[in-house]
């Protein structure tokens, strides 16, 4: 009960000070590296990974991302980045696996989840799994808002 009061006070202070206290079920905010990793040291490694990837150094990018994952093991975004990287390297199997892992950890955001299903579809296509790719694409479609689809 005392704890409850403390929390109530804290909540009041936060609300009064104008901080945006929103329940976790916020759906409109787009998912980005920043929403996922803000304040994490993994952010620095992610940006190094992006640089390395831009220079075609996929091996180095992969190493950066794997290191980042040990710092932020529950980041959907990092798994998504690994999936994209593996896809670029032509490893559809791992790309699909990482996209699925990204989905498991994905925040409740339909656009983001749809994007991940597209990634699964691409990874399946890369492996020659057409029907699997179609199925994943259908899941992506279902998640997209009608006006965007």
């Amino acid at each position: 009960m005392v704890q409850g009061l403390v929390r109530l006070t804290l909540l009041a202070v936060l609300v009064l000070s104008g901080c945006a206290v929103t329940p976790p079920a916020e759906k409109t905010e787009p998912v980005t590296a920043d929403t996922e990793l803000r304040g994490s040291p993994a952010m620095a490694l992610l940006s190094r990974a992006e640089q390395a990837r831009a220079q075609g150094q996929t091996g180095a990018a992969s190493r950066y991302l794997e290191r980042a994952l040990t710092m932020a093991p529950n980041s959907s975004w990092l798994y998504r980045e690994l999936a994209l990287l593996r896809l670029e390297e032509g490893d559809g199997h791992a790309a699909e696996g990482f996209a699925q892992r990204a989905l498991r950890l994905a925040p409740d955001n339909d656009d983001y989840r749809a994007e991940l299903w597209e990634l699964v579809a691409a990874a399946r296509a890369e492996q020659g799994d057409r029907s699997g790719a179609d199925e994943a694409r259908a899941r992506a479609q279902a998640l997209r808002k009608p006006d965007r689809a």
């Binding site: 529950n74 699909e96 696996g97």
Partner: protein, 785 residues
């Protein structure tokens, strides 16, 4: 060998000359054949000249060929994972200091050079050593790390990012087929003082002579005549190199005779710098069991545990002192002799002006400061190195591993390894003080990426030999039960964690005509119990009943779904774990359970780099969804009950109270094998304890293996298993029958996570209104509970 076949070329020359001379004497005595004698001598001389010329030409070609094509025997080196430092990383101050000590960082005010550090309360200034990695690696730099509350609080480095890495610790080398070991150091990285000391003591005229030093030889001759034997070589460095490179070590005149022309030829073709570099990397400096220590680079590591570049003058002098006789002047075995010789070298360095008077006086007061032999992390983890070697052997032929100086970056976490070794040996010592009955093995994995963090193959972890973690195939016992339960949970219309299972006697007719009547561990039968309790309390009869309902072949399919490659016959006995598995295979099997359904091959290697540090190969993480999120969550939840209230509840008193972990005990027939396999959010550990002769070990999973597991897990930085149910899973209160929904507080009602397909339509009519979906209201309510 080729080199022995070549030697006679010169030996022939030497021996041919002597008969010629004696022939001359004989002719003088006879007198009559003088004319013939002169002609004979002339002929012989011509023949000899031609022979000598041919011999020289041959030697010349030989020397050049061997020098140009010389392949340094550079074994592949294996490194642990680099210590990653960033704010929030769990790292106790003691562990940080332990790592620095293992890596032989020295304490020095201001941390002036790479490999040094200084402490100021909870803040450490560390001057890191640079290293190469597939992501470029790290420069040597001074970092400031503040520790507190068991973690890194703050970190600042040169590049402004708040993260840094300490160089990976070398934990072994792989040299198949030969026993030479060395760390190649190019001349420009050799401390100039070492070269000055070397030349001053071994070969003063090095830069003047042409391979042979008549002055040096004269000095040696005098010494040899005095002693009446060959006691001194008087060899130049070039000659010593020739001796080491091409010739055998025996001191024969023939060798001496061929050594000199070879030294001269070597000098003709190669620069002094090339010869010096070869010498510094070739010279023999001692023996470590079967391993021959070659070159100053490895010498520095072997005797001082540090890179050559970091050695201080008195340490460099100790290395130079060894050249006179690596065994006689061994600083570990003969410290007085070594010290006296070292001081002589320092004195010579002073006389040559390489050291100032003040430096000389300071460094001659220093102790030898050699590291104890057993203290080196090199070769300290034989079981893990064994795993690395096996994984490498699939991709690299033996000669590449032995010669090319590959750098293998492994996944070993030194702190996890040490914690595992300690947990196993301490517990086994308490169970079996004599030390000869019980043994064990531990495998620790970071399940998300499949990284093998630690591997212990014996209670005496330093001992080479039987690697139980990889090679002890033992019945897995009840470790198979989660697989049986998962088989059921993947059929949500038929089974949930609440489904009643009869823990009652059962007799299974076998194809052999015999009958199998499994018993429970306590000899009792509990009657109908929820499926999760059959797991939590490891009920054999309930599991066999469930397994026979599912069919052993269905369980075999789940095993293969989880990644088991070997063929497992679908006998009923597999339901109680008659399947033989090694601890490593168990870790592979449990890995997808630990990650919520993603199979990732276990790896012990992340990267292979060449000797310059250029990346050659990556071993990237691979992953595949093998279990749907729903059943994967349910089985994890079930395995958490094993620890919350079941056969492994004793772990609770050892682990942090709020840490959510899951696992399973295993005991094979007649107490031969004790197992525990379990995981947190970031560590999966498998422990096996038993006897090598497969006799009754008088241990159970709970008494033999679980204490090791708990202590080990308590010693590692842990994160909890996620308690958030995936989509399609709800927490539901069920009535005691497990067939109707109920409500919180209703008699006998228990809450289970359920797949939607498993939730019965029927309610027992008690408190069903309490079932409210989580939402914004719930979230706000949570603040006040």
């Amino acid at each position: 060998m080729a080199k022995n076949a070549k030697k006679p070329a010169s030996a022939r020359k030497g021996s041919a000359r002597r008969p010629a001379k004696s022939g001359n004497k004989r002719n003088t005595r006879s007198g009559a054949r003088r004319w013939f004698s002169w002609r004979f001598i002339a002929k012989v001389s011509v023949v000899l000249l031609v022979l000598a010329a041919a011999g020289l030409a041959y030697l010349d070609a030989y020397v050049r060929d061997r020098f140009d094509s010389h392949v340094w025997q550079l074994p592949a080196r294996v490194y642990a994972r680099p210590v990653e430092l960033y704010p929030g990383r769990v790292l106790a101050r003691n562990d940080m200091l332990k790592m620095l000590e293992l890596m032989r960082y020295r304490r020095a005010g201001g941390a002036p050079t790479p490999g040094s550090y200084t402490t100021d309360g909870n803040t450490l200034v560390i001057h890191t050593r640079g290293f190469r990695d597939s992501d470029g690696g790290e420069p040597a730099q001074r970092i400031r790390v503040t520790l507190g509350g068991g973690q890194v609080r703050a970190l600042s480095s040169n590049d402004g990012d708040s993260l840094a890495r300490l160089e990976p610790l070398q934990i072994g080398s792989i040299h198949p087929g030969h026993t030479e070991d060395r760390v190649f150091v190019p001349l420009d990285r050799v401390p100039p003082l070492l070269v000055q000391m070397l030349l001053a003591t071994e070969d003063r005229d090095f830069y003047e002579h042409h391979g042979v030093s008549p002055r040096g030889l004269a000095r040696a001759m005098v010494a040899n005549v005095k002693a009446g034997a060959l006691v001194q070589g008087g060899s130049t460095l070039t000659q010593q190199l020739v001796k080491n490179f091409w010739l055998t070590q025996d001191r024969t005149l023939a060798r001496k005779l061929v050594e000199m022309p070879m030294a001269v030829l070597l000098e003709l073709h190669y620069s002094k710098e090339q010869i010096l570099e070869a010498y510094l990397n070739e010279v023999y400096l001692g023996q470590d069991g079967k391993r021959a220590i070659h070159g100053m680079g490895l010498g520095a590591q072997f005797y001082f545990g540090r890179p050559l570049e970091e050695l201080e003058p008195h340490q460099l002098a100790t290395l130079v002192a060894l050249l006179k006789g690596p065994s006689y002047y061994d600083p570990r075995r003969n410290p007085e002799r070594s010290l006296a010789r070292r001081n002589t070298v320092l004195k010579v360095a002073l006389e040559e002006g390489a050291l100032s008077d003040q430096e000389y006086r300071r460094f001659r007061e220093r102790d030898l400061e050699v590291v104890p032999r057993g203290a080196s992390p090199l070769y300290a983890f034989p079981a893990f190195i064994d795993l690395v070697r096996r994984q490498l052997a699939r991709d690299y032929p033996a000669d590449v591993l032995g010669e090319e100086g590959l750098r293998i970056h492994s996944t070993l976490d030194v702190l996890a390894q040490l914690a595992s070794e300690k947990a196993l040996s301490e517990h086994l010592n308490s169970l079996d003080a004599s030390g000869d009955a019980l043994n064990g093995a531990v495998v620790v994995v970071a399940p998300a990426q499949g990284d093998v963090l630690a591997l212990v193959g014996s209670r005496e972890s330093r001992a080479q030999g039987f690697n139980r973690a990889l090679d002890a195939t033992r019945p897995m016992g009840s470790l198979v039960k989660p697989v049986v339960m998962l088989t059921a949970l993947q059929q949500p219309k038929r089974y949930s964690l609440a489904t009643p299972v009869a823990d009652e006697p059962i007799t299974v007719p076998l194809t052999t005509g015999k009958k199998w009547t499994p018993q429970n561990f306590d000899g009792e039968s509990k009657g109908p119990i929820p499926l999760v309790d059959a797991l939590a309390y490891s009920r054999n009869q309930a599991t066999v009943r469930l397994g026979m309902e599912l069919g052993p072949d269905a369980v075999v399919r789940t095993l293969s779904q989880l990644g088991v490659k070997k063929t497992i016959p679908a006998y009923p006995s597999i339901l109680l774990g008659s399947i033989g598995m090694t601890p490593f295979e168990v870790a592979m099997l449990y890995q997808p359970l630990a990650t919520g359904g993603f199979a990732t091959p276990l790896r012990s290697i992340t990267d292979v780099l060449d000797k310059e540090g250029e990346p050659l190969a990556r071993y990237p993480v691979d992953t595949e969804e093998v279990i749907d999120s729903g059943p994967a969550y349910l089985i994890q939840w079930g395995m958490q009950q094993v620890i919350e209230k079941g056969t492994a509840r004793s772990a609770r008193s050892v682990l942090p109270p709020d840490l959510k972990v899951a696992g399973k005990t295993g005991t094979s027939d007649e107490y031969r094998d004790a197992w525990f396999a379990g995981f947190s959010g970031n560590h999966l550990s498998v422990v096996w304890v038993g006897r090598d002769n497969n006799e009754n070990a008088r241990v159970t999973g709970s008494s033999g293996a679980l204490p090791v597991w708990s202590r080990l897990m308590a010693g590692l930085p842990q994160t909890s298993l996620s308690q958030v149910p995936p989509p399609g899973v709800e927490k539901v209160w069920m009535d005691p029958s497990g067939e109707k929904t109920s409500g919180k507080g209703c008699s006998g009602a228990r809450e289970y996570p359920m797949l939607e397909a498993s939730i019965p339509d029927q309610s027992d009519g008690c408190g069903s209104a309490t079932q409210v979906k989580e939402g914004v209201v719930e979230w706000f309510k949570g603040w006040f509970d």
